[in-house]
């Protein structure tokens, strides 16, 4: 694997650009008992893109994210990240490699304020080791100051700065989701997996989130967004993938995909009248 | 090959553990918690029977039922006023576990205060032995086995053929769906806790004449019924029965060969099971 990487490096240094996809799913399958939640999914994610993942309920979208993030082990198939095989690693190992996800529900640290949530979630942001933290060495103190600064900066950027000393559980749904996204960001992701970030929100809140996703993408972070709402994706996605019953049925630009027959049927159940 | 008495003794133990385990699993399936106080209800049942017989002269079978009702009622109260509050959303497992553990001390203390610490012996209600060709069994022990059979059949009937049983099974499998059908999960929880504790109490009652009665007799049955559930699988009623049988027989047989090691071996077995196959024989595997 490292040999391949070196090869690619030499190749690109020679002037020709060989863009290997950032993430590659090959034949990804996950069984629960006898039911395949996702089956034989092939997917490439390019660096810097905003990839939308859509599909009706039960199509396997969340399972896919759960497998990529390490929460489930795939039954079959592999996941490559920067040509390294990450399928089968623990969630913390995958997060350490730069793929961080948000959750649809279960977003919060129980009992924590907004600020505390960010601080205890910023594990990945620190450069100093635990023993340095324990003895409060100078290196740690500087690191800690930097992290706190970064936390505050992020909170300000995404506009959830107003009540950072209040319990996170008291925030409105929309802000809680944003907090979840901000927590994912403080973990220094190269790739951000967003699990239904706008579900349950009204139009305003959804647009608020969409704006922020745009900001995130502009910073160079690759984003995968699971969404129900095609309109949201039209706004931000460069590419959309459609799942149905665990299979990939479409892959392309949002406008193209939206108008494909199979996609419409998947959502509506039968041919449109 | 151990002599017949060992097997009989094992069977008797199996019956008790089975009954206790069954009650514990019922509670676990509906309430989602392990009731550490289960053994204390066994103890309280024994005391109720003791006093019913010695102080009030009530015949044994009726005393048995009384102890089931009284202690079952107590269990229901505990559910309603303590457990229910601590399993509300927002509370973790920690709270109920801590509370039920603390209640062990509470009940032992209360029993000690009210009944005194001395061992009390209950005269055999069914004195005498049945003499078979090579060995003899006391009638009391036979009664234990018969009692357990009756209870298990009764449970089977209740769970499968009554409305209450249906509600219980529904709530155990799909609490949300059940509540949509008008089944109050809170009510079912109270009933189930009552039944579970009643089972424990009756187990204690029927064993009261066999061993002694004091405030601490609940400890060992609790631990052993816990072991039985693990062997059989947390959350599985069949598992409770099978686990109880295996445990009782194993304990008796191992004790026959290496008396001092039997507990140790059983604990070790349980640890291995939890590490290797935590769902036991029949339990649902998690993830």
């Amino acid at each position: 694997m490292k040999y391949l990487k070196k090869l690619k490096q030499l190749w690109s240094e020679s002037g020709d650009k060989v863009e290997m996809p950032l993430i590659e799913l090959k034949g990804l399958t996950k069984f629960f008992g006898k039911l395949a939640a996702i089956e034989d999914v092939d997917l490439s994610v390019e660096k810097g893109e905003v990839l939308g993942i859509v599909g009706p309920n039960g199509s396997g979208k969340t399972t896919m994210i759960n497998v990529i993030s390490g929460y489930y082990r795939p039954s079959r198939g592999t996941i490559l990240f920067n040509e390294e095989k990450i399928s089968g690693l623990r969630p913390d190992q995958i997060a350490t490699r730069g793929i961080v996800r948000t959750f649809q529900s279960n977003v919060l640290f129980e009992g924590a304020t907004v600020l505390e949530s960010m601080l205890i979630g910023s594990f990945r942001q620190y450069k100093t080791k635990d023993w340095q933290a324990f003895f409060e060495t100078k290196a740690y103190k500087d690191d800690h100051e930097r992290v706190v600064g970064r936390v505050i900066e992020l909170l300000k950027t995404f506009d959830i700065f107003n009540d950072i000393f209040l319990p996170a559980a008291g925030l409105s749904h929309g802000y809680q989701r944003m907090l979840g996204i901000t927590m994912a960001l403080i973990a220094n992701p190269t790739v951000l997996l967003l699990d239904e970030p706008t579900t349950g929100m009204n139009h305003e809140e959804a647009m608020f989130v969409v704006e922020n996703i745009k900001k995130i993408s502009e910073q160079g972070i690759t984003v995968l967004v699971i969404e129900h709402n095609m309109k949201v994706l039209l706004n931000i996605a460069t590419r959309v993938v459609v799942l149905n019953f665990g299979n990939k049925i479409a892959d392309g630009k949002p406008e193209e995909v939206m108008n494909k027959q199979e996609v419409i049927e998947a959502y509506l159940g039968t041919e449109t009248i | 090959m151990p002599p017949a008495e060992i097997w009989v003794d094992g069977l008797v133990q199996s019956c008790i553990y089975m009954t206790m385990a069954f009650g514990m699993v019922l509670v676990f399936s509906i309430l989602g918690i392990l009731n550490w106080t289960h053994g204390q209800f066994y103890m309280l049942g024994a005391f109720v029977v003791y006093y019913a017989i010695t102080a009030a002269g009530i015949p044994f079978p009726i005393s048995l039922l009384i102890s089931g009702v009284v202690v079952g009622g107590l269990g229901a109260l505990v559910e309603k006023f303590i457990i229910e509050r601590l399993t509300a959303p927002g509370y973790g497992m920690l709270y109920v576990t801590a509370a039920t553990l603390a209640l062990i001390f509470f009940f032992e203390g209360a029993a000690g205060m009210v009944f005194g610490l001395q061992d009390k012996g209950l005269a055999m209600v069914l004195p005498g032995v049945l003499n078979l060709s090579s060995f003899s069994i006391s009638y009391q022990k036979i009664a234990v086995v018969i009692f357990t059979l009756v209870i298990m059949i009764a449970m089977y009937i209740v769970l499968n053929f009554t409305k209450v049983g249906l509600a219980i099974r529904a709530a155990a499998q799909e609490p949300d769906a059940a509540s949509l059908y008008g089944i109050s999960v809170g009510r079912v929880s109270v009933i189930v806790m009552g039944i579970g504790c009643a089972l424990a109490a009756m187990a204690g009652s029927i064993m009261a004449p066999v061993y002694i009665v004091n405030p601490f007799i609940g400890r060992i049955p609790m631990i052993f019924s816990l072991l039985a559930i693990i062997i059989g699988g947390l959350g599985s009623l069949t598992g409770a029965i099978v686990g109880g049988i295996i445990l009782g027989l194993l304990n008796s047989v191992i004790a026959y060969y290496v008396s001092y090691l039997s507990e140790f071996v059983l604990f070790l077995l349980v640890i291995v099971i939890l590490l290797v196959r935590p769902q036991g024989l029949f339990g649902a595997s998690i993830k």
Binding site: F103, E110, I120, D130, H144 | Y95, E108, L274
Partner: protein, 344 residues
């Protein structure tokens, strides 16, 4: 406020210092053996409680802490009474052995969390007791071992003799508790403590933020094991006896109760308050002619604390509230300086 995050100081530092000073000169006021014994024992149990609370911080409920006391106690007793080793090295070894065993057990057992872990620790606790009972040759079974008191410490012309007075035991306990408290307090308020708390607050989220759950669970469990081992060793030498029945499952449950009553939100403060209150209560209640009232009350107090105090709080939090009311400190919340600075 997370009930697990220690960065709000519950006792102003001056008060803590004052109380600490008082505690240190306490024996000047009384050489009553009983009173001092109560403090010594409470201190020892407090250390075990701190271990329990630390492990609880990582989201694990250990019912086996008394086993580590037993392991530490027996190690030291065997080394001193059976093998004639001097006290100090054997005391040190007791903690180390206990820690190593905690490490090994933790690596195997912490993989499964939750209720399974609790049951396994329960089983281990009882197994330790059974082993101590059965290995008659080494442990003298139920009769137990009689560890000798620590040897006199000679400083110049001044001799501290453990055999003649209970006061040296008291000071050594203070030293032990102080060192343990310092370590646990620092863990609690450091980033390590925050990491632990995140695991307790939301395990799945913590893992996805990059926290290796197993590693931190094992760290907490091992640290708890080391200090609990020391506590057990000291306990054995203080009482001059250790038997298998002294430290079993029921003592583990008592440790848990001291933790809950004291307050799980504060590793050190909760442990100290909880153990002092329950232990003292226990001693005085056992004197009353009413049988077993202390057990009844312990159980009742724990259930009351769980039901009626806000989630995750205990006596130490009540004390904190009281203190703030008395001294009219408005801030529920102490904002650390680096946050203040960044917020500007």
């Amino acid at each position: 406020m997370i009930p697990y995050l220690d960065y709000k100081t519950l006792l102003p530092r001056t008060a803590a210092g004052f109380l600490a000073a008082l505690l240190v000169i306490f024996p000047v006021f009384t050489t009553n053996v009983i009173t001092l014994s109560i403090f010594i024992s409470s201190g020892i149990w407090a250390i075990a409680v701190m271990g329990f609370t630390l492990v609880l911080r990582t989201g694990q409920f250990s019912l086996g802490q008394a086993a580590f006391m037993a392991l530490g106690g027996y190690t030291s007793a065997i080394l001193t009474a059976n093998l004639g080793m001097p006290f100090w090295p054997s005391f040190l070894l007791a903690g180390i052995v206990s820690g190593i065993i905690a490490l090994i057990i933790g690596l195997v057992v912490l993989r499964v969390g939750g209720i399974y872990f609790s049951i396994i620790t329960l089983a281990l606790c009882e197994m330790v007791r059974l082993l101590a009972q059965q290995m008659e040759g080494i442990t003298h079974g139920v009769r137990g071992l009689i560890p000798p008191p620590p040897p006199p410490i000679v400083l110049g012309s001044f001799e501290i003799n453990f055999s003649t007075s209970i006061v040296p035991y008291y000071y050594f306990m203070i030293l032990l508790v102080a060192v343990t408290s310092l370590v646990f307090w620092q863990i609690g308020r450091s980033r390590l403590g925050g990491t632990f708390s995140s695991m307790a607050a939301n395990q799945i989220l913590a893992e996805h933020q990059g926290i290796h759950l197993m590693k931190y669970r094992v760290i907490a469990f091992t640290v708890a094991g080391v200090f609990t081992g020391f506590a057990g060793a000291y306990y054995a030498h203080f009482l001059s006896i250790i038997t298998p029945l002294m430290l079993g499952l029921w003592e583990s449950i008592q440790i848990m109760m001291m933790s809950i009553v004291g307050g799980i939100s504060s590793i050190v403060g909760g442990a100290l308050v909880g153990s002092l209150v329950l232990y003292t209560l226990g001693i005085y209640l056992s004197r009353l002619p009413i049988y077993n009232i202390q057990y009844l009350l312990f159980g009742a107090v724990v259930v009351i604390v769980l039901l009626f105090l806000p989630k995750g709080t205990g006596l130490i939090d009540l004390w904190g509230k009281f203190w703030r009311k008395v001294f009219r400190e408005p801030d529920e919340y102490e904002i650390p300086e680096e946050v203040e600075a960044a917020v500007e």
